[in-house]
């Protein structure tokens, strides 16, 4: 059974259309990953993908709850093969190992573990092969729990030495019988152990059955630190950030993502060219702080650039879910994309209400491409450190300067800073600087003109 079924996730819907020759072409976001493209698709409007904790034990059901896990739908939440070689105990306990004085026995096709002394890691373990950054669904049926009032049953991931705890939180601890299930993201590639037994702070005897570990394909965004979790809100459905410390983390697989990111927030929606290296990556603000909005309504990242039509259709899907279409209402862009070093190209967005752009693209160290006409209609001229530490091409810095001239701003704050990348051209950029200075602007650019 796939987890898609288990989670009651809605079947992949068809939305909108790409403009195409001969009429509209049906569009589904899932199609963007149909040829095994790498990436991620986060959709807070789909409650079946949100959990309050990073281990996926408590679903998000209502507004105001924390979001510790946001599942990636790009792989359609498919489960991999079973990794536990003997989790049903139908004929024997092969594969399981226990160290005295802890004991194990097969009782009625369940695993019975008794621990009344001995170390926690002496309890029954079985080998599992885990891959760094991959996520796994661990599940079992807790059949009986006997002992003192505080005796708990537990499933816990241990390292290759059997002793080192690998579980991100508590493992799966249950004080009552019944099915249990949680998500675990491996931090190392190793032959590890799954431990089944009695929780470390108590003694007793437990019976466990149907122990299972299966990979949940996808690049799931999680936050194990409680204070850094986002908050689910409705009207529209979204994961809100406090812009203090909230953020998800995802582990980008080997090879990274070079392609397109569509980010839909409460303040605007846009598609960016990105180059995201393998390793940990923030979903949400940089260190929880710099983000173009205050909530995620939808986000898609694909390794391999989207066509303009696919990007537009994806944006339309997120906007239909409640994202704001443009940035036309934003007045203060201060620090919006600051430190987003993965952005390589920036789209043309509506900046017409913007009065402050200070540090907006500061330290976007990979940003090379910036469109023409981006600031033609802005409402203010504070571009302090707006483009410091960027990698703009000559065409891009020329685009920016010419657009500032077109804005006609000749009063109020008039500051512009660029460093890194290319200097403005003599034929286009430098004359634009001359015009800006004649209007009272203080302009600092690469090359010192």
């Amino acid at each position: 059974m796939s987890l898609t079924t288990a989670l009651n996730m809605a079947s992949t819907p068809v939305f909108y259309s790409r403009g195409g020759q001969g009429g509209a072409v049906p569009f589904s976001i899932a199609d963007l990953f149909a040829s095994s493209e790498q990436g991620a698709w986060y959709d807070p409007s789909d409650l079946s993908t949100l959990f309050q904790d990073s281990a996926s034990t408590t679903p998000v059901t209502t507004a105001g709850q924390p979001v510790g896990l946001m599942l990636d739908k790009s792989k359609e939440l498919v489960l991999g093969p079973e990794l536990i070689t003997n989790g049903k105990f139908e004929t024997n306990l092969d594969g399981w190992d226990v160290i005295a004085p802890c004991t194990m026995a097969r009782v009625g096709s369940t695993l019975e573990v008794s621990r009344n002394s001995g170390g926690f890691s002496d309890q029954p373990v079985i080998e599992i092969d885990l891959v760094e950054g991959h996520s796994y669904i661990i599940s079992a049926d807790m059949v009986s729990i006997e002992g003192s009032s505080n005796t708990d049953a537990i499933l816990s991931v241990r390292g290759a030495d059997r002793v080192t705890s690998r579980s991100e939180a508590a493992g799966l601890i249950r004080s009552t019988v019944g099915p249990t299930r949680g998500l675990y993201r491996s931090t190392v590639t190793e032959t590890a152990y799954l431990l089944a037994g009695v929780s470390g702070t108590s003694f007793g005897t437990v019976r466990i059955d149907n122990i299972s570990v299966r990979e949940l394909f996808g690049n799931h965004a999680m936050q194990a630190t409680a204070a850094r979790r986002l908050t689910y809100q409705t009207g529209p459905a979204r994961a809100t950030l406090d812009n203090v410390d909230d953020r998800f983390l995802v582990t980008v697989p080997t090879g990274g993502f070079t392609g397109t990111m569509v980010l839909a927030t409460d303040q605007g929606t846009a598609s960016y060219g990105v180059n995201i290296p393998a390793g940990p990556y923030d979903i949400g603000g940089r260190s929880g702080q710099y983000f173009p909005g205050s909530s995620i309504v939808g986000q898609l990242i694909r390794d391999g650039a989207l066509s303009a039509g696919d990007a537009a259709a994806t944006e339309a899907y997120f906007v239909a879910n409640g994202a704001t279409a443009g940035y036309g209402s934003v007045t203060d862009f201060s620090g919006y994309w600051r430190e987003w070093s993965e952005i390589t190209s920036f789209p043309l967005i509506d900046t017409s209400s913007g009065t402050r752009f200070d540090r907006a693209w500061q330290n976007c160290t990979s940003l090379t491409s910036f469109p023409a006409n981006a600031f033609d209609n802005v409402s203010g001229g504070d571009f302090t450190d707006a483009f410091t530490d960027t990698a703009l091409t000559q065409t891009s810095i020329d685009n920016i300067l010419v657009s500032l001239v077109a804005s006609g701003i000749s009063a109020g704050t008039r500051l512009f800073d660029q460093s890194g990348g290319s200097a403005p051209s003599a034929g286009t950029g430098q004359p634009a600087i001359d015009t800006l200075r004649s209007r009272g602007w203080t302009v600092t650019v690469t090359g010192g003109y």
């Binding site: 508590a170 470390g200 702080q289």
Partner: protein, 129 residues
């Protein structure tokens, strides 16, 4: 309700142990990370902002017990108790103090930090962990 907490550098380790006791697992040891806020005197703080239940403040001021998940005795309970002793709760913003763990109630984390007299420090931020 939303609680926003300012933790001075000297209390970070202790406060992260307290966060594990009141939280859910070892990852709560990362509650107070970068020192990217400062007061008027230049004292640096790591800040956290989170929604808590009504019982949280009571639990945070009650006797501390090692949580059931801590099978490996990760938490330094003495450190957690030191942080608890330094804890100051307020239903309205008060100035952050360099020798206290100052926790204030307020709907907007950023606005609460501003009302606590804290401003962002210009530092390079980490991407990811």
């Amino acid at each position: 309700m939303r609680l926003t907490i300012a933790c001075p550098d000297a209390l970070r380790d202790d406060a992260n142990n307290l966060a594990m006791v009141l939280g859910y697992g070892p990852s709560d040891a990362e509650t107070y990370g970068e020192l990217n806020w400062q007061d008027a005197g230049g004292n640096l703080y790591a800040c956290a902002s989170l929604t808590v239940s009504d019982t949280f403040t009571t639990a945070a001021q009650s006797g501390l017990q090692r949580p059931a998940w801590d099978n490996d005795n990760i938490i330094d309970m003495d450190a957690a108790r030191r942080a608890q002793a330094a804890l100051v709760f307020s239903l309205t913003p008060v100035a952050a103090m360099p020798d206290k763990l100052t926790a204030c109630v307020g709907d907007d984390g950023l606005a609460t930090l501003a009302a606590m007299g804290l401003t962002q420090v210009e530092v390079e931020v980490d991407v990811g962990v």
